[in-house]
């Protein structure tokens, strides 16, 4: 029996420690997914909370023979979409959140400036994608789900995932090529 299956069995028996173990196992990846989709830390925490409350309520029905990561991500992606639909807020960029994160007490030294610049460029490019393309990129590239798992999470056929990934890649490439900051940095580096 897998670790997830064992936890599910214990949770079904009323074991809250097992539920806490499940939470700590998946909280980071779920939180990162919600954060990357919504671009809002508060919304990501709210989605994480709702996700585990719903997961607990549906624990009797879940198929414990499979890993729980795709199922939990499916819940949190839907909750993130709901938040965007409810607030009518388009997740343009993670910049505000990331700036707060990076400018804390342990902010990076000056020699990280170039890496920061590149990160910022890529973040902007990801932020310019449509919501569906962005979700596919986050799940496939960032979270490392397979095409089939991504299709399950987004509740669409694998072919749709492939086409969204293809379009997202094209959009990212053209966005990165058009970015003057990156072109000038690379040109400077080649001199």
């Amino acid at each position: 029996m897998g670790e997830d299956a064992q936890l599910v069995t214990q949770i079904r028996g009323g074991d809250l420690d097992a539920f806490e173990a499940l939470y700590h196992k998946y909280k980071r990846s779920l939180y990162h997914t919600a954060l990357a989709i919504t671009g809002n830390a508060g919304a990501a925490e709210e989605a994480l909370q709702d996700c585990f409350v719903r997961a607990y309520a549906a624990m009797e029905r879940v198929d414990a023979s499979h890993p729980l990561a795709p199922w939990l991500h499916r819940i949190i992606v839907n909750l993130s979409y709901n938040w965007i639909g409810r607030t009518q807020r388009w997740p343009l960029s993670l910049d505000a959140f990331v700036d707060r994160l990076l400018c804390g007490p342990a902010s990076c030294p000056e020699h990280c400036a170039e890496a920061d610049e590149l990160r910022s460029i890529v973040r902007d490019a990801v932020g310019s994608l449509s919501l569906k393309q962005r979700s596919v990129v986050v799940l496939f590239y960032f979270q490392g789900f397979t095409l089939a798992e991504t299709a399950y999470i987004l509740d669409c056929p694998v072919g749709t995932v492939k086409s969204r990934l293809h379009r997202a890649s094209q959009a990212l490439r053209s966005q990165l090529l058009e970015d003057r900051r990156l072109a000038s940095e690379l040109a400077y580096a080649t001199l």
């Binding site: 809250l16 939470y23 925490e45 994160l101």
Partner: protein, 152 residues
């Protein structure tokens, strides 16, 4: 001119660099992981989850208990209702059978005779039934229906 060439060279390099999806994937993974990879949800989230799950468990067990306590009563009411329905149906069937039999016994006479029971056959034949009702009947004069008062 030289800046244009530099830009063109840079574009070529970027094209080559991200022609492969895997390269682009690596760049995305690195960018997102270093941007938000260290982000953690606050401990408040787990506390809030625990609170909501606790409420859910409490309300669930309360519902379960109340369901168990009302279960015998519900079963009793259901049994009584079913009993009533069965009895009603049973009596209805028997009554139908009796009525059918009595109807059968009563319908041995011809239908025309049953409709005006109590009247003498000769009265019907002479039409004296109409004259004995006491009601005045309209009559037709010159295509118009007149009141029942007879002239004279």
């Amino acid at each position: 001119m030289s800046s244009l060439m530099q830009r063109s060279n840079a574009g070529k390099q970027l094209n080559e660099l991200w022609a492969d999806d895997e390269e682009l994937g690596q760049l995305l993974r690195w960018s997102l992981a270093t941007s938000i990879g260290n982000a953690e949800p606050s401990p408040e989230v787990w506390r809030a989850i625990l609170e909501r799950v606790g409420e859910r468990r409490a309300s669930g067990s309360a519902q379960h208990t109340s369901r168990r306590s009302t279960a015998p009563l519900t079963a009793l009411v259901q049994t009584a209702l079913i009993g009533c329905v069965v009895m009603t149906l049973g009596l209805g069937v028997r009554r139908d059978a009796i009525i059918a039999r009595s109807n059968l016994a009563a319908s041995t006479a011809p239908a025309t005779e049953r409709r005006i029971q109590g009247e003498q056959p000769e009265e019907r034949l002479v039409g004296s039934v109409l004259s004995t009702t006491g009601e005045e009947q309209p009559y037709r004069v010159g295509g118009m229906i007149q009141e029942a008062t007879l002239p004279g």
